[in-house]
């Protein structure tokens, strides 16, 4: 029982100790690469993008206790909003930063629109509604071909710029630092929410909705905020990831598997803990986008992995790995690698 007396109480800092350590380690990666070229800061940018999605999803699942199974839809909304507003084949061409901000706002609005009619429902119904939404957003993007280019995806998308610095595919390190800065900013802001009235309302609704209601907290409003924040951050992450590959990719890329990847990030890392989410992103996306492809390449080079056999391509074990991660975590370590709220102050 950790007891703190009133005298030692300090308001929560900008970042927790664990988060500071983690970000410090992440900052070191490109610095080490200056000495030894490991080639990992380029793919780790994807981890950073997914970490932002994970932080958004964590607000919904970890803080508010709502199971959200369609977060990929909001990544798609963010990516497409960003693409339509910035891509040179469209008239708007707002540029990177306004496009990013617009993607965030449009994502949050979409989250609120989905939530407004359905948030008074029982928890599991929300899971189904978000799941269905995740599916139909793909359909909508495919069907509205004149606007979204259908299954082609939209490209090229602008790379970021920052006070005279421009970013290109041959400068992954500065690009990495920029995304890390955005991730840190998101972490600080969400942490502010976590330690405020808004966060307290989220936790209260998660812990005991009826008791919270008897304390005059309106669960629908509270859940709506969580859903909008989660959707906004997912859209931001989606836009950042799209900018990274300079394309939205086809709508089918934002499928259920991506939603579950994001869920795995939250659950494996530590549900309700932002440090955990970033660790989870490192583990899951690291496995998904770095380890498995490298392993596949190595197998190919060794002449073992043939394209004809389904069993020898590491990529084909993704579902199994995600599934096992979820089942085993729930069974043996339901609080994740980094348990929530042990890292608070």
């Amino acid at each position: 029982m950790g007891t703190t007396s009133r005298a030692t109480y300090k308001p929560a800092g900008l970042l927790s100790r664990g988060q500071c350590l983690l970000f410090g380690a992440l900052l070191l990666i490109p610095c080490i690469e200056l000495l030894f070229d490991l080639g990992i800061s380029a793919p780790t940018r994807f981890v950073l993008g997914f970490a932002i999605v994970g932080i958004g999803l964590n607000v919904v699942v970890g803080f508010t206790g709502l199971l959200h199974l369609g977060i990929a839809a909001f990544m798609a909304i963010g990516a497409y909003a960003f693409a339509i507003l910035t891509c040179t084949i469209y008239p708007f061409q707002l540029g990177f930063w306004p496009g990013l901000f617009a993607a965030l706002c449009i994502g949050a609005l979409a989250g609120a629109f989905l939530g407004a009619p359905t948030l008074r429902l029982r928890g599991d119904y929300l899971a189904i509604v978000t799941l269905g939404f995740g599916e139909i957003v793909q359909d909508l993007l495919k069907n509205l071909e004149p606007i979204t280019k259908g299954t082609q995806g939209i490209n090229p998308l602008p790379a970021p710029w920052f006070f005279g610095l421009t970013f290109a595919s041959d400068t992954p390190k500065s690009w990495y630092f920029l995304y890390l800065a955005i991730l840190i900013l998101c972490t600080i802001l969400v942490r502010n929410l976590e330690h405020s009235r808004v966060g307290r309302q989220w936790f209260a609704v998660r812990e005991d909705e009826l008791a919270a209601r008897c304390m005059a907290i309106r669960p629908d409003k509270v859940k709506l905020t969580a859903l909008a924040v989660g959707a906004g951050l997912a859209a931001l992450g989606g836009a950042l990831l799209a900018s990274l590959i300079s394309s939205t990719g086809e709508p089918g890329n934002y499928d259920f598997q991506i939603s579950i990847l994001a869920l795995c990030i939250v659950i494996v890392g530590g549900i309700g803990s932002m440090t955990g989410v970033i660790v989870g992103a490192l583990v899951m996306v690291g496995m998904n986008s770095i380890l498995l492809p490298i392993l596949g390449q190595k197998l190919q080079q060794a002449g073992i992995g043939t394209t004809t056999s389904v069993y020898l391509a590491p990529d084909n074990y993704k579902y199994l790995l995600f599934g096992l991660a979820l089942v085993l975590m729930m069974r043996f370590r339901p609080k994740g690698i980094v348990a929530a709220r042990e890292e608070d102050h």
Binding site: R6, Y90, Q93, C214, M215
Partner: protein, 343 residues
């Protein structure tokens, strides 16, 4: 004491399927008093609390808090909300069903290569197109949206949050704290009703939100001391011993500065010393001007502190009066001790 009634239960019945848990119970609680509701197990006491606090909707009858029925009226505000939802979904339907045409006329046709996009004209053309072609879609969408809002509104006219908003706080028979939150945070959730920090103030940690939080924390610490749990405000609630959890629940209920607080078996599971402390606490709560209603089995507590007692049995109120009257009421004795065998 000639106080004004704070709670008026007016012939309330609660039916669950065929089971009548509360049948035609009327009860008046005077402001500033301590009232006890007693009765054997299954008499409908907790159900009555649930009906008062909006957890259940009474099958019949009504509950007045401070003379007002705690039900969302079909007033201008409700109509405005229905209207806004109707407009919003009409707009969405009209835009969505014509989205390709809107794109064509508002975006594609307004775009001149290498020139900045004329936003005003685009929006204007889009608006014109929605007005010209969106009629049916808007009508259907608007009706569905308004009807949907109305359906949700009519289902949630009397909910716990609305009753709590009018100044009623409660505790639960089987303690319902927020187990993963600290003591201070549990109490601060109770204070939420009186807090103002909005989303953006919280997001950017603006000074007013930070100040409010600081003050709330200090007040929470005071309240935790008030119920006798000082010095451990940062412990998680689930780590508290049972008796302390009950007191924390009382602190959380008091945090909303309610006009009336409903305590559901506050002394359950407490030892004699704790029980005496609890009685003392309840008197102090009354001393702050808060009305107390409690369900209790400990007769010592009930007889010791309550000014008025209502007795429920099998869902019906069989007696009401001062402790002395109840102690001598044959019906109450019968309910508790069983009918005296004749002959």
């Amino acid at each position: 004491m000639s106080a004004t009634p704070i709670i008026e239960v007016d012939s309330v019945s609660m039916r669950f399927g065929g089971l009548v848990a509360v049948s035609d119970v009327s009860l008046t609680v005077d402001g500033g008093s301590i009232t006890a509701v007693i009765g054997p197990n299954g008499a409908g006491k907790t159900t009555l609390f649930n009906a008062i606090t909006g957890v259940y909707d009474p099958s019949a009858g009504r509950v007045l808090i401070a003379g007002r029925e705690t039900i969302v009226p079909l007033d201008a505000r409700a109509w405005r909300s229905i209207f806004l939802y109707g407009i919003a979904s009409a707009f969405l339907a009209a835009v969505f069903l014509n989205v390709e045409e809107i794109w064509l006329s508002a975006v594609t046709e307004n775009y001149v290569y290498l020139k900045p996009f004329p936003w005003l004209e685009g929006v204007g053309d889009a608006g014109a197109l929605v007005i010209a072609h969106g009629g049916w879609a808007a009508l259907v969408g608007g009706v569905v949206g308004a009807a949907g809002r109305w359906a949700i509104w009519s289902r949630t006219r009397r909910t716990p949050e609305i009753v709590a908003e009018s100044g009623v706080a409660r505790t639960f028979q089987n303690i319902r704290l927020f187990p993963e939150l600290s003591l201070a945070e549990n109490v601060m959730v109770g204070m939420d009703r009186r807090m103002h920090a909005g989303f953006f103030a919280s997001l950017f940690r603006l000074p007013n939100a930070a100040l409010e939080r600081q003050k709330a924390r200090e007040e929470a610490t005071r309240l935790i001391e008030f119920v006798g749990l000082g010095s451990s405000v940062d412990v998680r609630a689930r780590n508290l011993p049972y008796g302390h959890q009950r007191r924390l629940e009382i602190a959380r209920a008091l945090a909303s500065r309610p006009a009336v607080v409903l305590l559901d078996e506050p002394a359950a599971g407490m030892n004699p010393t704790e029980t005496v402390e609890l009685m003392e606490l309840i008197r102090r709560i009354q001393g702050t001007g808060t009305t107390v209603v409690l369900i209790e089995h400990h007769m010592r507590v009930v007889m010791g502190i309550s000014e008025k007692i209502a007795v429920l049995d099998h869902g019906e109120k069989i007696a009401q009066g001062t402790p002395t009257q109840i102690r001598n009421d044959p019906k109450c004795i019968e309910a508790y001790l069983g009918k005296e065998e004749l002959g």
